[in-house]
């Protein structure tokens, strides 16, 4: 197995543009959830003036994750997108015009930009990514599944570098349905994107200063209607792949309400809100940044971790996600020694 490293991150969230804004908001425990992101501030989006909101989020996050790589030169990169709902607003707009209003004409962009792979396709166009470009669809666990697919592409030599991006946009419909299913959490629906750049760690020797962490293990399972059991298998699978035990894990990060393993478990749900698969990606990004902080306890987690006395050092972080219907995944990120 090739050891993989996270060498770039990017995000856009209600906290603002950039992974830094995400980290700052969560470190301070600031509640930033809810509300539309009105401005991405990304010049490259001028090329995509008619794109859906979700695409602008995806491109913004990918741009940040690739920023250290300069312009162009991404021909041998793979891009894997994780998506839950896709371009809800364009899709609803097109459906409404054609079906509900029975009109024969509508903007073609409402159709073409609403396909589920439009964020990935547009990102590949903007950054000239010509390797495998896939979109994998699902709930919160799909962020890890997308990462796993990217890892497989690198391990089998199909790509040398991979961008993994998750993006979501909210609209009236998703907000309404979310409030129906989660009445206590009404108003906490969020949106945005997160992206990771992953590469073989062993090609980066001596450890590149931009290496945030290595990816030690991952797994995904589906056991219909038994999310806890599926999650346990995913966690066990990720630990086994990493050659670690639960005792090696410094902290777990998840928005799943039931704590699954006996380690301090953090959730940024209250701070960032729920953005479907993007929430899991934000958890991965924050964990990667924490691992890359180079200090025993990164300030990023300090606010939350001060509740726990015994963990003075974090070497490994597990991020897990599951869904009520039994889809679950887990990934372990590990700290690397800096030169």
């Amino acid at each position: 197995m090739i050891r993989l490293a996270v060498t770039g991150v990017g995000a856009i969230s209600p906290a603002g543009v950039g992974a830094g804004a995400l980290a700052e908001a969560t470190a301070l425990g600031r509640r930033v959830a809810a509300g539309h992101i009105s401005e991405t501030g990304l010049a490259v989006l001028r090329k995509l003036r008619r794109c859906a909101t979700i695409t602008s989020y995806a491109v913004t996050a990918v741009d940040e994750a690739l920023r250290d790589r300069g312009a162009g030169g991404f021909g041998d990169y793979a891009l894997i997108a994780g998506v839950t709902n896709g371009a809800l607003n364009f899709s609803a707009g097109f459906h409404h015009t054609i079906v509900a209003e029975a009109k024969e004409t509508a903007s073609p962009a409402l159709f073409s930009e609403s396909v589920l792979n439009a964020p990935a396709g547009n990102a590949s166009i903007v950054f000239n990514i010509r390797g495998p470009v896939h979109s994998i669809i699902g709930g919160p666990s799909v962020a890890v599944k997308a990462l796993m697919l990217a890892a497989t592409l690198i391990e089998t030599g199909r790509a040398r570098h991979a961008i993994v991006v998750c993006a979501e946009e909210r609209n009236e419909l998703s907000s309404f349905c979310y409030s129906r299913f989660n009445p206590s959490a009404a108003g906490a629906l969020s949106e945005g994107a997160g992206a990771l750049l992953i590469e073989p760690a062993d090609e980066l020797r001596p450890i590149n200063p931009v290496t945030l962490c290595t990816i030690s293990g991952y797994a995904a399972y589906t056991i219909p209607d038994r999310p806890q059991q599926a999650l346990q298998r995913a966690i066990d699978g990720a630990l086994s792949m990493a050659g670690l035990t639960v005792g090696d894990i410094g902290v777990a990060v998840s928005d799943y309400k039931t704590v699954q393993i006996d380690v301090p478990t953090l959730s940024f749900f209250d701070c960032l809100g729920y953005a479907f698969c993007v929430s899991t990606m934000w958890n991965i990004i924050l964990s990667a940044m924490a691992c890359g902080g180079g200090c025993p306890i990164n300030p990023l987690f300090a606010t939350e971790l001060k509740k726990y006395a015994k963990h003075s050092e974090i070497n490994h972080v597990i991020i897990y996600a599951t869904e009520e219907d039994g889809d679950a995944s887990a990934v372990i990120l590990s700290r690397v020694s800096k030169p």
């Binding site: 159709f111 396909v115 589920l116 439009a118 990935a120 979109s135 699902g138 497989t152 419909l173 219909p224």
Partner: protein, 391 residues
Amino acid sequence: MTDVWVTAMGLVAPLRPFDTIDAFWDALTSGEDSIKLQPPPLLNTKKGWLTASIEIGNALRPEDKFFYIAGAALKMAIEDSRLSAEELQGADMVIGSILGNVLSRERQLIDGNIQNRTVEASLSYPVRCLGQRFAIGGRLRAISTACASGTDAVGIAARTIKTGEAEVVIAGGVDVLSDFALAGFNLLQALTEDKVRPFDKKRSGLALGEGAAFLVLEAERHALARGAKCYGRVLGYASRADASHLTAPHREGRGLASAITAALSQSGLRQYDINYINAHGTATVYNDLMETKAIKLALGEAAYTTYVSSTKSMLGHAFGASGVIESLCALMAIKTGVIPPTINYRYPDPQCDLNYVPNTAKATPVGAAMSLSAGFGGQNAAVIFGRPTKI
């Protein structure tokens, strides 16, 4: 890395009703055309559309069609595979789809009922439902790479086995006709009002179709251990992006040529070893020209001796299902030594100058066959199948 066998197939597609893949193949290789002028699936409008649709009778509502055809095709594949319940529990499943159960969403919109719509709107919802119904207990994944979704599902499934992540992976593709898609492709001026004529000089666009197809992919040692039959082997697969335009293919076929070259390299075959290509062949002006250029770019002189046909001329374009349906056709061409025709072909296009198997099937031994797909987002995928291993 282990060899990947295709050990079972299941299919529900247009053409006259069939119970077996062999019956479907007989109809297809006899050049049967399933494309007819038909009303839209749900909307009550005067306008008819040339489509290839599947009849489900009056007992079912149109919005039940997605699960009906997906369930029937998956059941056929599972029965064909003779996998035990325990083996299914350990199997993964990858399904490619573009729109999922879109008719359900349209019905709810027409009825003004938005309850549960977000749950059903997610493309992963039908994948999980099918997994639950057939007790498939491994990793379930929904892939959406536009019209390449089905081919990517097959390729990703094969790769999952090659890397040792799973012994059995069921790869499928499902999509149904919808008012949404008809209106969308109509706005893009991609639909024909004539016959579907892939690679013909007078080609004028595509006809939409629908269908569900599943292949059971298995590690060779696993298949051998349980005495499974083998329809063929997955020899190579690659996916490449055009990085050019969201809806139009790269004019020179850059991405598709790159995918063919990469899949060929992975398979260990030479350009002349590919006997048959089941083309994406939508019958749009740009796709067919791009695809011809891509095949010539990747295969060189061998392109002129390779049979290339478009089964979309008979089955229409079944979106995300088409890649799996056409993979199945490639496997059947290997099995039977018969290449399905490109029907409605009358006027050769000087720029599309390959052997497109016009109008009549061709009987010839097929040792290796390739299936190609391309789609929105600049997606391109190529998968290569070979004969079963001689044991």
